[in-house]
Assembly symmetry: C2
Homo-oligomer: 371 residues x 2
């Protein structure tokens, strides 16, 4: 259905009709000039992200449901990264005419699924049109007690550096998708070339049926992603690590500094060290890397450590804890000790597998530069 | 300067370096995963808007400073429309390669100017790239005491309907700008046609100097907007009516329902009547219309009442007050009584100058439909 058939108000009504408020802090959600929220005795956390078609996502290989899910999750992840609890979400999107009401419902379904996972309420937003493509802007609001909030600037000398999950898989997933996309377009181009030649040499009519079959086959192009599902899942459907936050709370551990890994481990470590006025020393052999990530890096002739350090979009947590918490943290499920904080003058170092020291470069996943 | 020269982090640093926190509720602004805000004993209000180049603004006649100012003001206006106080702003933008660092500084300067006017803190955002054009997404956060918040659903039979400022001027400003733009392009096209003809008939060299002069004159094309400045100002540089909110508080008046007029008076009245379960009766002769709006409507052969009802982007306040407040409100500066609330079964009526009743249509300023 074309969106113009039901108009902006009709679309908003349709997308938001099933929203049930879950948080006691949500007093009034969608439907007025503002949402009304209540936060007695706590601190409010806010974060926002903007995602543009062609820059942050490519609809040739992301479906709209996964895109919605990921868009919401990356904001929820920022609230967890402050050791807070996500509560409300504001969702804005701008879309060109090629999108239908059903498309938007898919996108919204993904956003809702991410919100439901963490009991987050959608309380407002804006829906408008765009001349080209899809733009998504999401703001997430959460809360935390003052004493629980973890900033980037609290890391101290001798603190342990921990990372949840594994690194580099999302980046390898993106490489895989882009490779498949280029294979696909190569096949399309080759077919077009052969059709052109056949038209030129008069054999087109004779070959028509073959061309038709090949063209249909290309439309149904399905890549063989067997054995690489984890990489795709990591790229297409991020998960915020609220489970790690819960685990830390249960264990009575309050990190001294924390961030979520969106730009890449190396870039985030630079933020923490710079803001905390410290250095760090991390060990290559301790970087958590999934088997599929390693295989794919090998296949693509890429250095897997570089991918883990600079790939980005992992949405895992990097945090530091006092060395006194070593016993509590060392066996925590899905948490990995990768090194420790040092005095600033020792710099930011990566110790390689063969025990050599390398300076850690802050090569972030920079959308401003890469486009 | 090209943005790639300083990168995303450099750009953010440059844009946010002069931000001084003004609100005691802003505990931590830009620079971490989230901003940290504190709202003891009050309610938090949030609103968000997305503005797309070519849909919501046209950079051929809006400068970036005014655009930034307006983008922030329309969100601030939503907080006032709930009878709240704006406190913090989150600013995201996506921009294509044609924008420079200086452009972004202009845009940000406008946003900052709007924030400074109402002591609002910029506490976060996102800066990223876009394949085409500029996209701006702004979220504003404010607060209010529970008992002060004014929703859309509180209007009662016999309440008076009030509007601040005047209506339709912003819409006429837009018409004026679009007319001038089309005059400009018409002149450009005519010159190009004459150059083409001169090349064809061999007179090009002889006419070259004339063409050069005309081309230079076109580059310096300045419209004569004398006597129409107010219309342009209303279109290009919206102002949120926090002064009216203050005036109402001082007079001890709490509106029963309130909205800001973004889609047009008629559309907003429909929201209020639908959500409050009432009807309304407004009087054409009472609609506040500026002299320049009336002159311009005449010049363009448009019905000025239609412009005032459906033009949109006025960012004035429409609110209802109990009839007992009549004495207090009737002489309030820049506030106009335009009619009263009725029982729902009487419908939504406009009484014309010659005392005829017309049904009020909800013809909003619908970006979804109009594009």
């Amino acid at each position: 259905m074309e969106i113009s058939k039901i108009g902006e108000f009709g679309l908003i009504e349709r997308l938001t009709k099933d929203i049930n408020v879950q948080q006691s802090s949500t007093l009034k959600g969608v439907g007025d000039d503002c949402a009304v929220l209540s936060y007695p005795d706590t601190r409010v956390l806010t974060t926002t992200d903007m995602l543009m078609e062609g820059v942050h996502f490519d609809l040739t290989y992301t479906d709209l449901r996964n895109l919605g899910y990921k868009s919401a999750m990356v904001n929820i992840s920022d609230i967890f990264a402050m050791n807070g609890t996500p509560r409300q979400l504001l969702v804005s999107f701008a879309l060109s005419k090629r999108f239908t009401v059903e498309d938007l419902e898919m996108l919204y379904e993904g956003i809702r699924a991410a919100c439901q996972k963490w009991n987050v309420d959608i309380v407002g937003g804006d829906t408008t049109s765009s001349l080209t493509g899809l733009a998504i802007s999401i703001t997430c609001i959460g809360d935390a007690h003052e004493e629980d909030i973890v900033y980037r600037n609290g890391a101290h000398d001798t603190d342990l550096i921990c990372v949840s999950g594994d690194l580099g898989a999302s980046y390898m997933g993106l490489q895989l998708l882009e490779r498949e996309k280029s294979v696909y377009y190569q096949q399309v181009n080759e077919l077009n070339k052969r059709i052109k030649e056949a038209k030129a040499d008069g054999t087109y009519d004779a070959k028509l049926e073959t061309f038709r079959q090949e063209s249909t086959a290309l439309k149904d192009f399905q890549s063989d992603f067997a054995g690489k599902e984890y990489l795709l899942q990591r790229q297409l459907k991020a998960e915020a690590r609220g489970d790690i936050i819960e685990r830390l709370r249960e264990a009575g551990i309050r990190p001294t500094a924390m961030m979520d890994i969106s730009d890449g481990l190396s870039s985030e470590l630079h933020h923490i060290c710079k803001q905390s006025g410290v250095g760090c020393r991390i060990f290559e052999k301790n970087l958590p890397i999934d088997y599929q990530t390693a295989v794919m890096a090998e296949e693509m002739n890429m250095n897997v450590t570089t991918c883990a350090l600079n790939g980005g979009e992992d949405y895992e947590l990097i945090f530091t804890v006092p060395i006194g918490d070593h016993e509590k943290i060392k066996n925590m499920e899905d948490v990995h000790l990768i090194g420790h904080i040092t005095r600033a003058e020792l710099g930011m170092m990566l110790v390689s597998r063969d025990n050599q020291d390398f300076e850690l470069k802050a090569q972030g996943w920079n959308h401003m530069n890469s486009n």
